[in-house]
Amino acid sequence: MSKKEQIAGNVANYVDERTGAAKWLKKNLTKVFPDHWSFMLGEIALYSFIILLLTGTFLTFWFDPSQNEVVYNGSYVPLQHVSMSASYASTLHISFDVRGGLLMRQIHHWAALIFMVAIVAHLLRVFFTGAFRKPREFNWLIGVGLLTLGIVEGFLGYSLPDDLLSGTGIRIAEAIIQAIPVVGSYLAFFAFGGAFPGHVFISRIYTVHVLLLPGIFLALITIHLMLVWYQKHTQYPGPGRTEKNVVGYPLMPVYMAKAGGFFFIVFGITAFLGAFASINPIWLYGPYTPGQISAGSQPDWYMGWLDGLVRAAPPLETHAFGHTISWNILIPGLIIPGILFTGMALYPFIESWMTGDKREHHLLDRPRNAPNRTALGAMSLAFMLVALINGGNDIIATHFHLTINGIMWFTRIGLFVVPPIVFVITKRLCLSLQRADRELVLHGRETGRLLMLPHGEFVEVHEPLSAEKIYTLTQHEQNAPLALPDVDQNGVRGATGLKGKLRKRFSVAHAEQVPSPTLTEAKAIEHH
């Protein structure tokens, strides 16, 4: 035994005698992780979170979360001798007088945007491949929670510098709180410690932004990962992959090196973005005052859909019995987001109810093989995109020489018309892709080689697929609609009522599918 091995052995012995870690580690160092590019989306979110913790800690060393008025005398000349809040002044200090400060601010902001993009992309991957199905519903719920908190955390983060743009965002948030029936003005006064903007809001959201929410994030992310670990990762279907196994690379060394390396790649690219791509140049906006505003006020992208909905809302308010209800704020600002996020959180349970499927699933669906789900997802996405477009209607209008009026009406109508159209098109597209798969399996790949038969006919040579490819294209389950009786055992018609009828219709829609080709069919064709 070499000297090195001896030392390593001693250390391992010391730790194991106190923790019994060897047994657990032995098992888990060989834990298998399937490999696929789409499994890295969640990793990007995780790594961005770590980057946010690191750069955020750096920023706290100089940031002063206070709305006390100070006179700026740092090195940014245009704002010298201007009165502003300490929080804006310290952000300027970080940007101009701390070496690497601007870089860290920009990495932090870019990482936040990437964090949100990665969460959404990861969510879409999980949704479209059906990875949320039993036994992974808990992780879906945690994910929806992380997405929601991420939106809040991002909003609070860009509100902290107290510049003209972010102050306007806070003003809008205040208006949403104030619009809540009965308790709105009280909640607003409690949140702001009195009238808007007050002197305490920045320091309060600072605590929430750097302590409370990151703590909750850490806890939720930990549970999220522990569940992935414990339940083992899902895998894409393919030869040798079943519901009962998991095929991939062991944690040590391959997965460790790849995941660890990938962290550095994400960090490196974010650092490049921070170095080369300017983001949120707060010194151009000036300090916040409620009497001023800059044209083209825009939230970060993950809030854009919300702002777009608010912009599209019709001017509805009810005044009755000495009270006011602002539907133009409540519907787009609270009610629709509430419905969207609740629906998203409940989707695994809704789908399981529609299909009656209560089994465990570890093999992912190819999105085309679940046409109804894929179409539902595309439909929701279309709704969000239309809303997002309207969130930038002023920018789009000036860049593409359109009228804001035109974009607004496109949105108002589009929010209702585009999603159903997208649903129908996506579903047709999925079924067509299934048909294409069927064609491919039964008749092979078109080679582009033409062959002249002895009697003069030209035919294209088709090459049969490999057994592996055929299996991948045909392994998926054949859906069947729920066999729900119209009449129960006692002969009572429609015992389940409207709910039952709805369920039946959903289940039929969900089971719509092109029959997967079988070996029997392939043999029959061969015989011809």
Binding site: L102, I172, Q178, F189, A191, G194, I265, A275, H319
Partner: protein, 330 residues
């Protein structure tokens, strides 16, 4: 589906294809060298970072295409950091791809459901323990515990009460009163009608009594926009017309939708536009909403001139300014 239909069979995992470096020692050496080069580039990146931190002046700017003038120090530090991190990652992944074992491994899955026996034992244990504690029988304890926990859970509502004062009449009032002078923001000078040409706009605030300091909260509800047009262009009823002075009309600058500053005035169309949600108000018709989500016109401030010829408020606002709230009556 009948049983005589055969599905395609699973051919099993494809045979593993070995890489060149797996059996060729020279290829492995070359791969090792590549990984090492990537790590060395990373080290150079850190040197760039350190060099930029100490030796580039923070006042040096260099021109980059698309980006424009960029601070050279921040750029050097950032580029150095980016290279240092990125190439560690590239090296590690290159290492994993070329030299670490790439044979796929199969592990078995197990159902998560516990064995029936374990489940029964669990239920039995819980029942037994709960029974021993008397949870089912001692309803007095159960109820009083429920009361205690419920009440202590409500205590944050009390403890958080001092987060802020009650709104009372604050949202319904402003600092404008009959005779309050209009002063320019930010100079604080009072303003006469002749200071404002036709087509001009000015932001004004109420003159505060000497010794009072203006806060952002004041500005947040007092900010007023003065606009001067030709008097014949007004399309107002008699009362609202009497609130104007020689073609000068005054509106609250705080949007009636969500409180942003309504700052964009289109001189040609005489429209006021809020840049937040594009609510558009027609100045000639008492800021009637002609587009966008705002449900109410901007409140109009009645103005006139005092004995010295300065613009003053004829009276305070007759309705609350800014976004709606529950207690608002109209």
């Amino acid at each position: 589906m009948t049983s005589d239909i055969q599905k395609f069979e699973d051919p099993g995992l494809p045979e593993h294809v070995h890489r060149k470096a797996d059996h060729d020692e020279n290829a492995a050496k070359a791969a090792e060298k590549k990984v090492a080069i990537l790590f060395v580039i990373s080290a150079l990146g850190t040197l760039l970072l350190i060099g930029s931190y100490y030796f580039v002046k923070s006042t040096t700017f260099i021109f980059l295409p698309i980006m424009g003038d960029t601070n050279a120090q921040q750029l050097g530090i950032g580029a150095g950091l980016g290279i240092a991190l990125l190439f560690i990652g590239l090296g590690a992944i290159q290492w994993a791809r070329t030299l670490m074992p790439d044979t796929e491994v199969v592990a078995e899955r197990h159902e998560f459901r516990s064995e029936d026996k374990d489940r029964e034992d669990f239920v039995a244990t819980v029942k037994e323990r709960a029974g021993a504690a008397g949870l089912g029988r001692r309803s007095l304890i159960k109820r009083s515990l429920g009361l205690a926990v419920g009440l202590v859970g409500l205590s944050p509502l009390v403890l958080l009460r001092d987060l802020g004062p009650l709104p009372r009449k604050y949202l319904s009032t402003t600092d404008w009163k009959s005779g309050t002078r209009l002063v320019l923001d930010p100079s604080g000078r009072p303003i006469k009608p002749e200071d404002l040409e036709v087509g001009a706009v000015a932001q004004v605030l109420p003159e505060l009594p000497a010794g009072t300091e203006r806060t952002l909260e004041n500005i947040g509800k007092d900010a007023v926009l003065l606009i001067r047009i030709r008097p014949e262009e007004f399309n107002l009823d008699a009362e609202r017309l009497s609130w104007t002075h020689e073609g000068i009309i005054a509106f609250s600058k705080i949007c009636s939708h969500m409180g942003c500053a309504v700052a964009l005035y289109e001189q040609q169309t005489k429209h006021l536009l809020c840049p937040c949600h594009q609510s558009t108000f027609d100045v000639t018709r008492a800021a009637k909403v002609i587009f966008g989500p705002a449900a109410r016109p901007l409140p109009q401030l009645a103005i006139t001139v005092d004995s010295e010829g300065y613009l003053v408020a004829k009276q305070g606002f007759t309705e609350p300014i800014g976004p709606s709230f529950w207690e608002r009556s109209s």
